[in-house]
Amino acid sequence: MEILIAAAAAVLQPHMLVIILLGVTAGLFVGALPGLTATMALALMLPFTFSLEALEGLVALGAVYMGTIYGGAFTAILINTPGTPSSIATTFDGHPMAKQGRALEAISVATIASVIGGVVGVAFLLIAAPPLAQLALRFGPAEMFWVAILGLTLIGSLATGSLLKGLLGGAIGLLIGTIGISPVGGESRFTFGWPPLQGGISLIVALIGLFVIPELLLMIRRGHATLETPADLGRSRFQFGAALRTVLAKPGNLIRSCAIGQVIAIIPGAGGSITSLVAYNEAKRWSKSPETFGKGNPEGVVASESSNNVMVAGSMVPLLTLGIPGAPPDAIILGVMLLHGLRPGLDLFTQTGVLANGFIISMGLAALMLIPVGLLGGRLIYKTILRTPHYYLVPTILIITILGTYALRNNIIDVALMLGLGVVGFVIRGLGLGAAPIVLGLILGTIAEQGYVQSILGGMALDFPQMRLFVNPLSQVLIAIIVLVIGWAAWPQNLRRKKD
């Protein structure tokens, strides 16, 4: 407790608050630009943090991280484009809300949900880090394989229309993910004799290509913007109170989404990309009126945005206690910690407790600062997008996506892949193949492959190496969940409900 108070005192300094404010603001705009990820934002800040004290540096990184994940919500809501992979699910209901002229309401809901998620994640980290860390260690290769399979069952609800088409999209995503160096075998495959393809098709490249470019082509085709202008823009307010009531009206949804965010955050390597999808899926499953999802139901936004912001602090659990980076941005934070002579472990909370706890508390503060920064920034971005004529908006977004995709890996080939995938994505969207199942397949393919092949390798001494996938208790629990999920979806009554 003394450590906590000392840590809070160290963070509640004026210059610290300024660092957090600047970090959150910068992160917000970076996250709102398609192609610019949290990883990139943190990497850019590295040299800057070297000149700071250890705590200041970590606080700055934490604030930017929190801001970026949240900033992804804006473009998701306003132009149907997830700024970061973790806000894919925000597009499902956030954008329909914007189309109905409820963009500011959607932003307010997203903001409140993000703040709650961020604070809950910090609370988990302060209270329950050691047991959560032990849980994280249980996820070995076999468990990861089943996690990926469980994730793939999401296709059932992501598929708009026919399940077969959803499966087709998922399989295409899995296939795209195999391009490049095979994660376990180490050989290069499906490069079609072209060396640049060794790098594979990065998730973000596919994400931008499949989400943004079709949206732009749609605007080009229709000749008008997809966003509805509310009747009286001047008077449209944040509707903060109404949004707060919306969020709190369904506490079950909120609690469930936060719990999902926390559990997925500690599974090493699953990353934040699927948290929001899982939370969204569950929100829809447990809702009394699942048919309203995808048509502008704020609950969908709540589920997505609360879960993905839990993940920011949540992924610090394996990082701080075990030195396991759960998501790519965590690797950078780990690097900074090591440079300052901080070794991950439970000692971090006792011996250098002021530092570790100060860092954690600062993330809570960063989450709280999302309210003013997010609402003002959100309104600014919203008005800019709304007032820009569509014929300037389309080429501008195109320029940003081109630069953002290039910035990702400093690779001009990625830009070509992004544009190419986008055009193909536009065409197959007409055939009923949506982007979400493809991206889901791409995210989970590598995890599934690694888990499967590593498990088989680990079972080489057994008669049937595949048995390795089934022997661990946690694997069996996961298999049971998978059976339940598929069974639930296939239950005749639910099938009928879905059709209605």
Binding site: G140, G180, V184, P325, P344, N410, Q454, A461
Partner: protein, 315 residues
């Protein structure tokens, strides 16, 4: 005043002062614009963090901007092949290189897109020796225990490491050959997942870099280190040589320019990296790095030796 005298003066008055002192002297015709320093891996790794530490020191010494850029993909191959086909050989574009990657990939892949000899190596500036690590409560107290178990139970001991055809993998293969044992090597994507693999008991042991062993502290037991002599930071850990196995190796990191870069510029950059090592060493040696300065013919010999040591495993 030559660079050499600048650096010896630097030893006297402190390294940073030397950077400042040498700056105006060097500002002749090189560098005439910002230096592009490409890191062919993701941010946050050891290559990246090292480059980020070098960045401000280089800027001070050279008097121009140094831009560290990431171009990850294909285990480094994407950046290396782009670099060899497009970079200007004038010293303003430099790229991070690693062993055994740049030796192994062109042998093992049909489409690596670059060649080992296509680089002019400035210097290999540091090395992270390989180590064999087990969890602190593992029954293997010594390397001998581990080798004995693996000898009696072929393939049932699993050994994790970073990637396939990487240093960790090739070193495991070499240990298997020398000790006449068969373990199952399980590749992970990079060093990041390895702590979880050890602590969670998903693998029996890990072949990794000394930095990981230092980072994980008391949670693990380090059985052997593949350096010539014991490491300062791990004084109780025997070397493989002491234990009777000729396993010496690790991941060398260095920087390179395209073929045809003027030799005096390569020389000057090599001096600069060697000079920066003195500052970096204060931070990095306790983390498990060994600072080196292997350049010119020595750098080429190093790669020839690697080809001999590991070449058989790659075909």
């Amino acid at each position: 005043m030559s660079l050499k005298s600048a650096s010896s003066k630097g030893l006297f008055v402190g390294v940073v002062a030397a950077f400042a002192a040498s700056a105006p002297v060097l500002a002749q015709d090189f560098p005439s614009r910002a230096i592009e320093y490409i890191i062919p891996f993701d941010p946050g790794g050891e290559s990246d963090i090292t480059a980020r530490l070098q960045e401000p020191l280089m800027q001070e010494a050279l008097g121009v901007n140094v831009n560290v850029r990431h171009q990850p993909g294909g285990g480094g191959a994407v950046a290396w092949s782009d670099f060899q086909s497009n970079a200007e050989p004038d010293g303003h574009e430099i790229i991070g290189i690693n062993t055994p990657h740049i030796v192994a990939q062109p042998i093992q892949r049909a489409d690596a897109g670059y060649t080992t000899d296509g680089f002019d190596i400035i210097t290999w500036f540091h090395l992270t020796p390989h180590v064999v690590v087990v969890r602190a409560d593992s029954p293997f107290e010594t390397l001998e225990d581990l080798i004995e178990f693996a000898g009696e139970n072929p393939q049932s001991l699993t050994m994790g490491g970073s990637g396939t055809f990487t240093g960790n993998h090739l070193e495991t293969l070499r240990l298997m050959e020398l000790a006449d044992i068969r373990v199952t090597y399980i590749p992970f994507t990079g060093t990041g997942p390895l702590p979880a693999a050890i602590l969670g008991g998903h693998v029996g042991a890990v072949m990794s870099n000394a930095t990981l062993a230092v980072e994980m502290g008391d949670n693990v037991r380090v059985l052997a280190v593949a350096s010539e002599e014991r490491l300062e930071t791990l004084p109780d850990v025997p070397t493989f040589l002491e234990l009777g196995y000729d396993v010496v190796g690790g991941t060398y990191r260095g920087v390179a320019v395209p073929n045809g870069t003027p030799a005096d510029r390569v020389e000057m950059l090599a001096d600069l990296f060697a000079q920066m090592n003195e500052t970096l060493g204060e931070r990095q040696i306790p983390m498990g790095y060994q600072m080196t300065d292997i350049r010119g013919q020595d750098a080429i010999d190093l790669m020839t030796r690697m080809r001999e040591q590991y070449g058989d495993f790659l075909n």
